[in-house]
Symmetry: C2
Subunit: 102 residues, 2 copies
């Protein structure tokens, strides 16, 4: 493998956040816990892909899935502390988009 | 098309920055103007893909290509003001990766 100087953790972070829709899903969940339908109706993403991304984010420890024993059962997704840790980065990207993108 | 609430500019920014290797290329160029070989040897990316990404970033106005009329001709890539505008976001992602990724 090619010897490179970039930090593997930064590489992993960029890969993780860079996945299509991940940034927007995190942005959406920064508003607080939400149900699947609330997230899917706010973003131009398909249900299948959203479900896939939420599973990945759960596995990476950025999102947690909360099941409420009600009838019918209620399931909410929310950011973990690790997920909330990206708040500043996402806010910076949003600010950049307002300044530089028309 | 599905009616959604997310800001199209944020969507475009996430898509742009989220492309594989783009974040790391921007991170690398934050160190200053560099030649193609300097960039490709610092990142685990292929020459073909780096060339593709640099063209896209040029088109989006984040990177500029400077040709110096020397013998042999010298070509350097550097961030534009628009590209440098992502410095804080990238620094935040780097910081996050140090705290949360092992």
């Amino acid at each position: 493998m090619k010897e490179t100087t970039v930090c593997p953790r930064l590489s992993k972070a960029m890969e993780l956040i860079g996945k299509r829709w991940t940034g927007l899903i995190l942005y959406q969940l920064l508003e607080g816990p939400q149900r699947f339908n609330e997230i899917v109706s706010s973003l131009p993403v398909s249900g299948r892909l959203l479900s896939e991304r939420l599973k990945e984010l759960e596995k990476e420890g950025l999102v947690e899935r909360n099941v409420f024993a009600e009838v019918p059962v209620k399931v909410e997704y929310s950011l973990t502390e690790k997920g909330k840790g990206l708040k500043d980065a996402i806010a910076n990207i949003e600010q950049w988009s307002k300044v530089w993108l028309s």
